[in-house]
């Protein structure tokens, strides 16, 4: 199996990227809800103290203020944990950011299952489901540090709200140095003929390892990384699914309405194919070491391989 280089965490890359961007873009401001030392907007604060605004542990107000700042031509970047973005501040984001298409970039940290021993209050498995259901919202889950940097820089060129799903741990590098990110485009990670697998975010590294496990067994996986969950790359998703005629989605999030839901909505209407949706089942989480959580919640590469193998065998 390929050994991948361990890269930085998405949160560190986010802090570095927005800080660098602000060197040449004086419209960028950052609002922090007292999580900057975790979500790593502290990197921005160190370089641009005059454009870093601590607004305290009050997320609804923070997102409302960001919307107001956008109306005077600034590009507010707002960061806190995904749970407090999506469920606590939902109303402010819906009314003041999504509805007016405010140019606010939301950096949702500690997304997914691995949130540093915080447990169920801080774990939000349905963030993708909720945010992609919000009209006018773009939803991006980068796969590694290279894609995080590219996706944030692309987002700063886009005039409108974006939800970035950023995971906490250091993540393996899965994309090449010369990678070019385009909002709304998928990335073919591996060409194959037996089954098409769609994955998103840093979980794609696990899907890639799963595909390599299966290759050794003679199962040829076509793996497509979907960094932009909304808007979905419908054409490429249908084409990739039809290529093998068999589909598995896998994600570090709930099986209810996330990436799997988005792809099911597309394929069921455009090209119905046997499909398996893999992710976290309809439950809440808990605290624990990353590896133990991945094992218990069925997200380790071996689990992903099991799911894909079972789906292939069932349709032989």
């Amino acid at each position: 199996m390929t050994t991948r280089t361990m890269g930085k965490s998405l949160r560190v890359t986010m802090g570095e990227t927005i800080s660098e961007a602000a060197n040449t873009n004086d419209r960028i401001v950052v609002l922090d809800g007292d999580t900057g030392s975790s979500t790593r907007t502290d990197i921005f604060e160190a370089a641009h103290r005059d454009r870093f605004f601590q607004v305290g542990i009050a997320e609804m107000n923070m997102f409302g203020m960001a919307a107001g700042m956008a109306t005077v031509g600034l590009i507010p970047i707002v960061s806190t944990f995904s749970a407090f973005v999506v469920s606590r501040a939902h109303d402010a984001i819906r009314v003041l950011i999504a509805q007016p298409k405010a140019n606010v970039k939301i950096m949702a940290g500690y997304a997914g299952l691995l949130a540093g021993s915080t447990g169920k209050t801080h774990l939000l498995f349905d963030d993708v489901s909720i945010m992609r259901a919000m009209a006018y919202m773009t939803v991006i889950a980068p796969g590694d540090e290279i894609e995080t940097r590219a996706a944030i820089n692309a987002g700063l060129e886009y005039d409108g709200p974006i939800y970035y799903r950023l995971t906490r741990p250091n993540s393996p590098i899965i994309l090449p140095d010369d990678y070019e990110f385009v909002i709304g485009k998928t990335v073919t990670m591996r060409e194959g003929s037996d089954v098409t697998v769609f994955s998103t975010g840093t979980h794609t590294a696990r899907a890639l390892t799963a595909a390599e496990i299966l290759a050794d067994e003679g199962i040829d996986v076509h793996l497509v990384h979907v960094p932009t969950i909304k808007p979905l790359d419908v054409g490429e998703i249908v084409a990739a699914a039809q290529r093998t005629g068999l589909v598995v989605t896998t994600e570090e999030g709930t099986v209810v309405g996330g990436l799997g839901g988005a792809i099911a909505e597309t394929l069921s209407q455009q090209s119905p194919l046997p499909m398996k949706i893999h992710g976290i089942s309809d439950i809440f989480g808990e605290s624990g070491p990353d590896e133990a959580l991945l094992e218990k919640y069925g997200l380790a590469p071996a689990h992903v391989a099991d799911v894909i193998r079972d789906h292939v065998k069932a349709h032989e």
């Binding site: 107000n61 956008a70 109306t71 109303d91």
Partner: protein
């Protein structure tokens, strides 16, 4: 070009009267809408738009204009009536209030209505947005003033106090909050009997809340135009802290049988009520609309 108009207090009071007339006509035409809150806000809106704010109806997006956010978005028809009379759009367009495809939606929508600086209606959000405008103005080196109007019922929302803390912490002296303390809300707090509804904040509680959050509080009669003018003038001179004008008002102000009556929070006047209201507002022919 943005400019501040220079009307006398009597002329401003006349605009307030016209705003009240248009509020009732529009609600009656739409067959729906809020009445009590819009009527309590009319004198402050007239004073802001015709006497204080530096704006240009011909160029509603002028980056240097003063901003106004009606955080108590349920009183949208009061703002629309004011904007129409100020020249942002034809007064006749008020007939489209609340209609499908109208620019004058039930609650203010910054994406469609000229002159609406921030969407509002989910209570408390407009206030947060207005604080962002004010802090953003500072970050963008802009010199304008942001005015925001809240309801007293709206002050029940936790987000108001989240924002009040942040504004004081940043010493935001380019924002003025006008709190329409009309002592009633939609259903309200039960009084001695079920028929009686009492204020969400008793005695000095509301002003004390804002003082406790380190806002510079000015208390006035929110229907006394010279007092509103003086308070806004005083607010402009304050530096280093945000100002909250606690405006003691009467819900339904201007129409005797609507004043202090909870049921007129949102209710459409009948033919007889409309005729009586127009007569009281000095427009005996106005009920025909």
């Amino acid at each position: 070009m943005t400019q501040t108009l220079t009307y006398t207090p009597a002329e401003l009071a006349e605009y307030a009267r016209q705003i009240r007339v248009e509020i009732l006509k529009a609600v009656r035409h739409a067959g729906a809408g809020h009445v009590g809150g819009p009527l309590s806000a009319a004198d402050m809106l007239a004073t802001l738009y015709f006497g204080v704010m530096n704006v240009d109806p011909e160029n509603p997006a002028d980056p240097d204009r003063d901003r106004f956010v009606l955080s108590k978005g349920h009183s949208s028809i009061a703002l629309y009536s004011t904007l129409a009379l100020r020249g942002y759009f034809p007064v006749d367009e008020l007939k489209t209030f609340d209609a499908v495809n109208s620019r004058l939606q039930g609650h203010p929508d910054q994406t469609v209505t000229p002159g609406v600086d921030m969407s509002s209606g989910s209570l408390g959000l407009g206030f947060a947005g207005s604080l962002g405008i004010a802090l953003g103005a500072r970050a963008a080196h802009k010199d304008f003033t942001t005015y925001v109007m809240l309801g007293d019922g709206e002050c029940n929302e936790g987000i108001v106090w989240e924002g009040a803390h942040v504004a004081a912490r940043y010493g935001l002296d380019n924002i003025v909050a006008l709190v329409d303390h009309n002592k009633l809300q939609q259903f309200g707090w039960t009084g001695e009997t079920l028929d009686e509804r009492i204020s969400p904040y008793l005695g000095d509680q509301l002003a004390d809340r804002w003082r406790a959050f380190d806002w510079n509080v000015i208390e006035i009669d929110g229907h006394d135009v010279p007092a509103i003018l003086a308070a806004l003038e005083e607010a402009k001179a304050v530096t280093g802290e945000p100002v909250a004008i606690i405006a003691h008002t009467v819900k339904g102000k201007g129409v005797s049988f609507m004043e202090n009556r909870p049921e007129w929070h949102s209710k459409v006047p009948s033919d007889e009520q409309m005729a009586a209201a127009m007569k009281e507002l000095g427009e005996p022919e106005g009920g025909a609309a």
